[in-house]
Symmetry: C2
Subunit: 314 residues, 2 copies
Amino acid sequence: MKYGFGIDLGGTTVKIAYFDETGTMLDKWEIPTNTAQGGQQILPDIAASIRQYITSHGIADSDILGLGIGVPGPVNAKGMVNKCVNLGWGVFNISETLSGLTGFPVKAGNDANVAALGEFWKGGGQGCDNMVFVTLGTGVGGGIVVEGNLLHGAHGSGAEIGHLVLNPKETVPCNCGKFGCAEQYCSATGIVRLAREFLKTTSLPSTLGQVENLTCKDVFDAAKAGDPAAVAILEQVYDYMGMLLGNVCSTVNPEVVVIGGGVSKAGEVLLEGIAPYFQKYVFHAASGARFALASLGNDAGAYGAFKLALDAFG
Amino acid sequence: MKYGFGIDLGGTTVKIAYFDETGTMLDKWEIPTNTAQGGQQILPDIAASIRQYITSHGIADSDILGLGIGVPGPVNAKGMVNKCVNLGWGVFNISETLSGLTGFPVKAGNDANVAALGEFWKGGGQGCDNMVFVTLGTGVGGGIVVEGNLLHGAHGSGAEIGHLVLNPKETVPCNCGKFGCAEQYCSATGIVRLAREFLKTTSLPSTLGQVENLTCKDVFDAAKAGDPAAVAILEQVYDYMGMLLGNVCSTVNPEVVVIGGGVSKAGEVLLEGIAPYFQKYVFHAASGARFALASLGNDAGAYGAFKLALDAFG
């Protein structure tokens, strides 16, 4: 039996997990992400933590097949990082650098793409060959698996589906500088924004008007309780989500769409809400895609990172 | 040296080409597509034509690596055809059937996808790993290459980018039954429709009002001559094309976008027209995609079909 590590590198913590080659997570821990001085200590810290784990557990180097790592920024299939603003990183080959520091072969990918691979392998996308993954959180991220392989993209920014433009007439800019991106309507932040705008002009009765610091969860809870304005707000949101996922599925034609991120905590009601709008927008030949909720939570990135290594070196 | 055949199966003719393994097209010819009786003679006709060619040219069966075929409908990676309305075909495995008829291994793909592979290999996409191909003709078709491999999709309908919805408020239905598909604005037919609508209401002077049976070429010609209405119409068209290709590139992140089909005969002016709108819509990390015109014309399908066979059996 061989073993390996899956690393999910975030802006504040690094999640590291130890796997056997069947994909069983045997252990996991976190270390802080040291972004001081252009993030130059991040990879040495990771290498030291892994080396310490191996030594303290009496693991032979020859039993380690390799490491995989998910990075919060664009990474191409060859491991070239193209600026991770959160970490202070510029352009360099992370696979070569981390491999030099640890002595193990390393495969890297973008964090959202790597989480997609985790869900594909051990989560909501199990048993499929082609998957679209979308995370509806503070922002909207994505990952695409084509015949078992992650779509990295030429510049390491494949599947940036949060920035598909759905509404070219939007007057408020997205964080990315464009206007009318999916993220402006389908993220937790976007849903709250749509709700606030709707409540300003609607004559529908609503309990939401009295809520201070309105959250996405408030909107879902109110809709569940039958609040007419909340129901109408979510119909707008589902329409945008259906257009986003319909267009992505007309492009990719997956077997399954897996939805994760904080908004997906709404559960099955979210999938049921999106379904009719998805059918309105998707091309008929791609309309058979099944919808599923993500099931690995915060571990998706570590699973996917290890899978990258397993596919490359296992 | 090994050899093979690339077959481009259309609704009226079948184009067959003979290649050596370097991709040099040594010969090509056409036979009619016999769509009578549910298209049951189509594959026997193709097999007979290839068999006759081999015999009359004294080619040894052992020198043939295989056949590739592009089909006007959904085909998945395993060769399952899922209804080709134009041909009268239902659901069956075309690779197995044609292989049984010829004695050679067969690989099949959707015609637009296969044409994309041809352009990727020997046309406008040469030298790249990731490509988006779009044909702007009577309709709008597409093909996507990810790290050298065609994106077939789970149901054989990958890259149906002509049916991405760009304008959910459209009141005229697309041929597919949905509203606001890219094909309604970016195809030759769509451009003429936009022109007619624009001319009804504009106060801009135009020579186009007098043109009987207005064509897409008329609009491009008038714009080249400085006709203010034609220029304004094409700005609308370029905006839609920029939104389509921007959204597809934010999803796929290719190195190159190759544009073919009748509308691409407008030439470089088309690429220059789309460029600023593409930048308006595409996610910044995917904005480096280069634009190129397709260069293989009607032979793209045969090249791509042979490449399918070469990749599988060469």
